[in-house]
């Protein structure tokens, strides 16, 4: 087990003008589950592969513990790519399927056995150790594959979109399994996904990347409550945060027909417009005044419902907007209703329209 450090780590592909990963700085704690998330082309996979030794680091360095691994070959880094391939061998026992790679590495027989038994205990596979893979269920076979990585006891686990070829149901199950297993093992893990829900539910901390640049590195909670810029605000959360560009007025921001009070300090840093971010659950219907929304679709989830509609607020016409409402009082399609921020607007996020950076706390 070990810490992992990205120190100004940069990857520029030959012939490319811009870096795929640009001066990345991340300190990963010993035993931490860190998720790299971002849209395609964000550099998340490249960042993971730099750590694995598959991509060259053109500038900066990467450390595992105190060891500079920047120029080491993949197999000398003591990291394991999990789930990359998990063919099970039909004639070998579950124990042999888990331990054969140690045999190649020259580990003594007795030690292989003890490591396999230990991993099998964690994976609830102990009763099956002497059986053949044929006797296992799909989920158990997958755990054998995990066991193969565990018995190697690497310093770091690396996972690159490991759930992408599973169907939705199995994905949720496996997600939970991986997260709980990682906590039991306490092995530092770096996990790449494009799915922000996966990132938020699994990571101790989440690193959001875009265009090769780290946008924010925080706990899921902090990321949700305090996005550092417009990109993170729109990327994290499902349904996404509503982002409206509205006029700044004396004492607050103008949301449709009302002026919503906002502290003076943050607004001092911007011009006459500001981007307001409001999560769907932070909107509430108002009897009159506020953001007028023409309802397109209502998605009823039982206790709650999501209202999807359009508004003219924010300069552009037909701006999409999503609000969560009480499942027992849902509006009709085609109806126009007004929304205002809940309470004092503590959950209102403000961003600079030019830079996209967060204003104030």
């Amino acid at each position: 087990m070990a810490t992992v450090t990205y120190d100004e780590a940069t990857r520029v592909y030959p012939g490319a003008d811009v870096a795929s990963v640009d001066k990345l700085n991340i300190d990963i704690q010993d035993g931490e589950f860190l998720v790299l998330v971002g849209p395609s082309g964000s550099g998340k996979s490249t960042a993971l592969r730099m750590l694995a030794g598959l991509e060259e680091v053109n500038e900066g360095r990467i450390l595992i513990g105190d060891r500079d691994v920047t120029n080491l070959s993949p197999k000398d880094r003591d990291v394991a790519m999990v789930f990359q391939n998990y063919a099970l061998y039909p004639h070998m026992t579950v124990a042999d399927n888990m331990g054969f790679a140690l045999k190649i590495a020259g580990v003594p027989k007795s030690e292989i056995r003890s490591r396999v038994v230990e991993a099998a205990k964690i994976l609830d596979l102990e009763p099956f150790l002497d059986r053949k893979p044929k006797a296992l269920s799909g989920g158990q076979r997958q755990r054998v594959a995990m066991g193969r990585a565990i018995v190697r006891s690497p310093q770091v686990f690396l996972m690159d979109e490991p759930l992408s070829n599973l169907d939705a149901k199995l994905r949720v199950q496996t997600r939970t399994q991986i997260a709980s297993l990682q906590r039991r093992l306490g092995v530092t893990t770096v996990y790449v996904t494009h799915d922000q829900v996966e990132a938020m539910t699994m990571g101790d901390r989440v690193a959001v990347l875009k265009d090769g640049l780290l946008q924010q590195l925080d706990t899921p909670r902090r990321m949700y409550d305090h996005p550092n810029n417009v990109f993170v605000a729109g990327f994290i959360g499902s349904p996404a945060m509503n982002l409206l560009e509205v006029p700044v007025t004396e004492g607050g921001v103008k949301l449709g027909s009302i002026v919503h009070p906002v502290k003076r300090d943050p607004l001092a840093k911007t011009g006459d417009k500001v981007i307001v971010g409001i999560r769907p659950e932070d909107l509430t219907p108002a009897s009159e005044g506020g953001i007028p929304v023409e309802v397109d679709v209502v998605e009823e989830l039982g206790a709650d419902a999501y209202v999807y509609g359009r508004t003219d607020v924010g300069g552009e016409s037909d701006k999409q907007i999503v609000a969560r409402v009480d499942g027992r009082q849902v509006p009709d399609k085609g109806q126009t209703i007004h929304f205002v921020p809940k309470g004092e607007g503590d959950h209102l996020h403000l961003f600079d329209p030019e830079s996209g950076e967060r204003l104030g706390d």
């Binding site: 060259e56 993949p74 061998y89 004639h91 190649i104 044929k134």
Partner: protein
């Protein structure tokens, strides 16, 4: 959702397959072979208008990605299976969505490694399979393809005059880059080593290969062979300007390994006393291209080498060294190659490719001569081969998969 079929050429017969059933439940009469064994995905073989098609059930985006990857690799002239198409948007009769299917054409006369090894041809069969896989891996790496799951299982083998030629059949994990980093190449090699050792240990555990073979030694061989070949193909060589023959020598070595040099980087130092060369573009298939040009025969490279040797012998025996090479090749084709490859009865002819049959007959003649300590004519050799050897040869053309007990699963004709 409507059925969405992507294919490079229109093939209406595809519509007749039972797409509304999960692949696992397809009726036996549809299948070219009975499926068995453990695989990550469900895979079935069906016979469609005389061709055997492999069908793999996977998620639509992965199927499309692999389909495009295989097409790209074929366009780059790599030995990979031919992708036929992707069928997506499948629903059961109850409207439940089903995974998409990737269709590839089964490579005729090819064999999975389990079948190769269970036929127990020669003691060094495993080593020769590894050699073929090393050539394949080097070729793929040269064009920038990172495989990600190198294994004997993901490869099909064709006989090639005593050696094997390897074909990639599974590109699911693969990625195409402009150029691979050393880390990517090393990672592929490491994956190959672990997978090959696992596969050999499995065969041993199943009792299909003897305890005397060493899975770890065999798996180490991929690294040795790969490194030797990679070095030959890519290394920079420096020598004095008066040793210019070494440029030709380098090209000759690459040719003998079966590669043509498409582009050679030659630089001299500032005062011209030393020359530095490095092959920039190398293409496999040196011998098969030459044979194709001379005779129109399209065969594996090692088979081509064998045939070209025989052609040279023919030329010498008839004292025609000064004749036009193409004219001699034409006469050899008419007088030697075709009579031999056509001499086998039709029901035996389909057991192996004509070029392989030709090679076998030449080998057989050598063994006959050695035993009897005299020369035999090619006609005598052909007849003896057909009478004594060919009937016992396995039928390579029909093997489409193997079950877990390493018994080839044969297609019903």
């Amino acid at each position: 959702m409507a059925l969405d079929i992507t294919t490079a050429r229109p093939w209406p017969a595809l519509l007749d397959l039972p797409w509304r059933l999960p692949l696992e439940d397809w009726p036996e009469e549809r299948l070219a072979a009975l499926p068995r064994g453990i695989s990550r995905h469900v895979v079935r073989f069906v016979r469609l208008e005389g061709r055997v098609i492999a069908i793999k059930e996977i998620k639509a985006d992965i199927a499309r990605r692999e389909y495009n990857m295989l097409r790209m690799l074929r366009r780059l002239g790599q030995p990979v299976v031919e992708p036929v198409g992707v069928v997506a948007g499948r629903l059961t009769k109850d409207g439940e969505p089903l995974d998409a299917c990737l269709l590839t054409r089964h490579l005729q006369f090819s064999l999975p490694y389990r079948a190769m090894l269970s036929q127990n041809l020669r003691p060094d069969t495993a080593a020769r399979l590894i050699d073929a896989l090393a050539v394949l891996l080097v070729r793929l790496h040269l064009v920038g393809f990172w495989w990600g799951d190198v294994s004997l299982s993901n490869t099909l083998f064709k006989r090639s005059a005593g050696e094997f030629a390897a074909y990639l059949v599974d590109a699911e994990t693969g990625e195409l880059h402009d150029k691979l980093t050393n880390g990517q190449r090393e990672h592929d090699l490491d994956i190959a080593r672990v997978n090959i050792a696992g596969e050999m240990m499995d065969l041993q555990a199943g009792g299909f290969v003897g305890e005397d073979i060493d899975p770890i030694a065999i798996s180490d061989r991929i690294i040795q062979r790969y490194n030797v070949l990679w070095q030959e193909l890519t290394a920079v060589e420096r020598f004095d300007a008066d040793q210019r023959w070494r440029v030709d020598e380098r090209i000759r070595v690459l040719n003998s390994l079966g590669f043509d040099v498409g582009e050679l980087d030659i630089t001299t130092d500032f005062d011209g006393t030393t020359i530095q060369i490095q092959p920039k573009v190398v293409d496999a298939g040196h011998h098969s291209r030459r044979l194709l040009r001379l005779t129109g025969l399209d065969v594996e490279d090692n088979q081509a080498r064998r045939l070209l040797n025989d052609l040279d012998a023919f030329r010498a025996a008839h004292e025609r060294q000064n004749d036009d090479e193409e004219q001699v090749a034409h006469d050899w084709l008419m007088q030697v190659y075709e009579p031999i490859t056509r001499s086998a009865p039709p029901e035996m002819r389909r057991k192996m490719e004509p070029a392989e049959l030709f090679h076998e007959v030449l080998e057989h003649r050598w063994y006959m001569s050695e035993k009897a300590q005299r020369d035999f004519t090619i006609e005598e050799a052909v007849q003896d081969y057909i009478d004594t050897v060919l009937p016992d040869k396995p039928d390579d053309s029909a093997v489409v998969g193997v079950d877990t007990d390493a018994i080839p699963v044969r297609a019903n004709r």
